[in-house]
Amino acid sequence: MKAILRTNLGQAWLVLLLALIFGMSLAGVQAALGPKIEENKLKETLEKVPVVILGQQAADELTAKGETLVITPNTVAVEKGPVTKYYTLYKADFKDGTPAGWVAKTKGQGYADKIELLVGMDADAGKVTGLFILDQKETPGLGNKIVEDAWRAQYGNKDTATPFKVVKLATGGVNEIDAISGATISSKAVTKLVNQAVSDLKPQVAQLKDSDGKGVQ
């Protein structure tokens, strides 16, 4: 017994035991609170859908009138060579059934951790209408400026024909995005995610729209 306790592993028995106990309690906490956290995220997503499609002002006006958009979630699979990428694509309609637009949820590597965001598109996916960052852990003071309204506004009401391009000093060219100083990587990561989502989902939107036109809903 004494010989075992003198080995490296034996000396660390308390560390191992604590790791086991703490690990189990954290699993318990996650199991108890995980659904609640997901629910919070979903609630925020649904709240932001009208804002990224219509813009803050129009969304507020709609709420003031007591109306909401009808939001239908779809899961779409995009095949890219050997891998299949899944997107959650929200379809938003006005109360009278006229389509308002589409919101795609996408996720990808930023500078520090995964960035999760919503991209809004108009009814034919011809325009990007807005962007909202759901989750990010970019550098405070530099990369986390991607959440600011002023920077995100650059993605508002832009044609999807040309992909967005990050530049250091925007000269007013088509779909140019001004990089955040000190956070070129974060700016590029967001732009890449938006471009990818748009190019992947444009055909999907057309397809979904057609199937809806046939009256199946």
């Binding site: 309690s25 954290l26 956290i37």
Partner: protein, 205 residues
């Protein structure tokens, strides 16, 4: 153990004589980062208090089993567990606040204030003394954060907790809620506390 401070002494020391921010200059990362408003500052202070009390009590209960070369591992493991719990609870019940504080809640793990209290007090004294030490230190930390946040929010936005207090004519000193404001405020308040205690103890400055 006879010369170790008692529970009451530990509690009182944390508030001013050994204030974590103004005396020991520990835990400055959250002090500078989340004090641009009262709400995030108070949330941060409460999270730190929760982690510190739990970690101190657990370490104190385990103190006779600790081996000198493995103690830091155990401190870190314990602290990380409680920080993760605090992070998840905030994300579940105070979702917007948890988004505002972002990475600073997980960063409590590396707040040296907590590991310092585990080392100085909890690994040497019983759970009751450790708990009151943790409470005193958390209170001191909370007061320090609140004092800095009060100055910054009031001068930067003209209000506290989001309520307008100063007359509308007040030109908001936006710099106070930006990062430089944190350094300026901390420096001035630190100087003030030093000046006050030097005067009280009869020293000359």
């Amino acid at each position: 153990m006879a010369d170790q401070p008692t529970a009451t002494e530990r509690f009182l020391q944390g508030i001013l004589p050994e204030n974590p921010v103004y005396r020991q200059l520990l835990g400055l990362c959250p002090t500078l980062a989340v004090t641009n408003g009262m709400k995030p500052a108070i949330t941060m202070a409460c999270s730190v208090a929760f982690v510190l009390v739990c970690a101190n009590v657990v370490i104190s209960l385990l103190r006779n089993l600790l081996k000198p070369h493995l103690r830091i591992v155990i401190f870190t493991l314990t602290i990380a567990t409680f920080v993760t719990i605090a992070d998840r609870v905030l994300a579940a019940y105070l979702y917007q606040m948890s988004k505002t504080l972002g990475p600073y809640i997980p960063l409590i793990i590396v707040n040296c204030l907590i590991i310092c209290r585990c080392e100085v007090c909890a690994s040497k004294q019983g759970p009751f003394v450790a708990a009151s030490d943790a409470l005193g230190q958390s209170l001191g930390f909370g007061l320090a954060l609140a004092s800095i946040a009060a100055v910054r929010e009031l001068l930067g936005t003209g209000g506290l907790f989001g309520y307008q207090l100063l007359p509308a004519a007040w030109p908001d000193w936006v710099i106070m809620v930006l990062p430089p404001g944190a350094f300026i405020t901390l420096g001035l308040l630190l100087g003030l506390v030093n000046w006050y205690s030097a005067r009280k103890s009869g020293g000359s400055i």
